[in-house]
Amino acid sequence: MIEFKEVSKSFGSTVALDNVSILFPKGKIIGLFGPNGAGKSTSMKLIMGLNRCDQGEVWVDGQSPQNKKQDVAYLPEIDYLYPWMNIAQAADFIRTFYADWDEAKYRELVQYLNLREDMKISKISKGQRAKTKLLLTVSRRAPYLLMDEPLSGIDILTREEIINTLIKDYREGEQTIIISTHEIAEVESLVDEVIFLDRGQIRLGGNAEDLRVERNMSLVELMKEAFRNAD
């Protein structure tokens, strides 16, 4: 379980998170939704230990994020792989650090995502880079999977492949996936829980199905309403 306790984080005068308390339940797919600048990426980075809270605490299974990196697989929005590596070299580099690396799954996903191991990261298309990042993240059997804007700037066919890959290997009840995106429609059918963030604060949160039934709205409509009310 991941827990945010009254977390605040600012970058200069910009408030990214403002006294936020969140509980990310274990074994679910959680959507972290909101417009640009809502605090989604900062939340991800706090869980991954790439940022530190100004105030409050973040706990991953009761421990500091710095001590739980082994259990978290992180897919950042930006291209973070060494451009001079090919896919095989990147996989070889990453697999050294994680005991949960699943070689069979990696081999299967290379085929499934239509990638080749000799593809050089600096030479491949944006869509292929997105798929490579996904491949290297999902090839781990990590208890926590953080995906920061995995669909951003990706064409519709690649988006489908990415979502299908996630569904294909998701271990319900065992693995926790947190997806941050502002493209809710694409992942609406995927998420169990949702958190709507805006300007560093939670506007709405809860079980996705309950919210839909309760308010008779899709998640996209719910987000629009939540943010309209906030204004």
């Binding site: 991954m48 082994q70 992180y74 792989l81 060494y82 050294t96 650090f97 005991a99």
Partner: protein, 258 residues
């Protein structure tokens, strides 16, 4: 299966060495070209070979310092720092692997250039022979002398390089803590750290200087004393490097954010 810390460290080191290939190749290629050129062109005036050899040695010795900025700075420029910081390893391994790779670059470069220079010297001074020439100049050419003093001198320069690289890491990391004028902060911190560490180590250097004046002067020179001075200098610089390295690791572990 859990991977050992050493294996992780070695993987990081291998990655850094891979990134340093161009610089290592430049030094090796330049050494080869210059040595061949000098062999054919400096037969008549062998002394002329000294200047180009010194220049190439200077390049081999100086490049790791330049590379230290490339190796760490690139992680931010290419956003690979996201990958680095998300790995389950601490700053000691990250910075240690980079330091080791840069020292390897220094060793490869200086050893190759020096070896090339020595071979060239033997070829260019066939009669009465290089060793004979050195002996007539009053230089002790016994193998154990060459090895002990030469090795100690090399270790001292290696420690000096480690010291400078650690200051480079420390200043770059502090530079990354600010959003604006990062390069300026890096430059200021570099100079300030160099100056401060110099001040802090000054009493030790002073003591060594006093020892020098008594035991290593034109009237009183012993190889044992020279080796002692070289050894103590190495230890002082290693201590300085260790202090700055620990400071850099602390900044990396506790202050660096994205």
């Amino acid at each position: 299966m859990q991977t050992s810390g050493w294996k992780k460290f070695f993987k990081l080191y291998t990655k850094e060495m891979w990134e340093l290939r161009p610089e290592i190749f430049i030094v090796l290629a330049a050494t080869l070209v210059i040595d061949i050129l000098l062999y054919f062109k400096a037969q008549e005036f062998p002394a002329l070979a000294v200047a180009p050899l010194m220049m190439i040695l200077g390049l081999a010795a100086f490049l790791p310092f330049i590379s230290s900025f490339k190796l760490l700075g690139r992680e931010w420029n290419f956003n690979t720092v996201y990958l680095l910081l998300s790995l389950p390893v601490r700053g000691g391994s990250i910075l240690g692997s980079k330091l080791l790779a840069l020292l390897s670059q220094y060793i490869i470069g200086t050893v190759v250039v020096s070896a090339g220079g020595v071979i060239l010297a033997f070829l260019l001074f066939p009669e009465p022979g290089l060793l004979e020439t050195l002996r007539t100049l009053g230089i002790d050419t016994r193998i154990q002398t060459m090895l002990s003093s030469g090795l100690l001198f090399f270790l001292m320069t290696l420690a000096g390089m480690a010291y400078v690289i650690c200051i480079s890491f420390f200043s770059q990391l502090l530079g990354r803590l600010v959003k604006r004028f990062s390069s300026l902060v890096t430059a200021v911190v570099f100079v300030a750290t160099f100056w401060l560490m110099g001040k802090a180590m000054n009493p030790l250097w002073q003591q060594l200087e006093n020892y020098n004046q008594v035991h290593l002067n034109q009237y009183n020179f012993s190889l044992a004393a020279l080796n002692q001075v070289l050894g103590i200098s190495t230890l002082i610089m290693m201590a300085g490097a260790a202090i700055v390295f620990i400071a850099a690791v602390l900044v990396y572990n506790h202050k660096i954010e994205l």
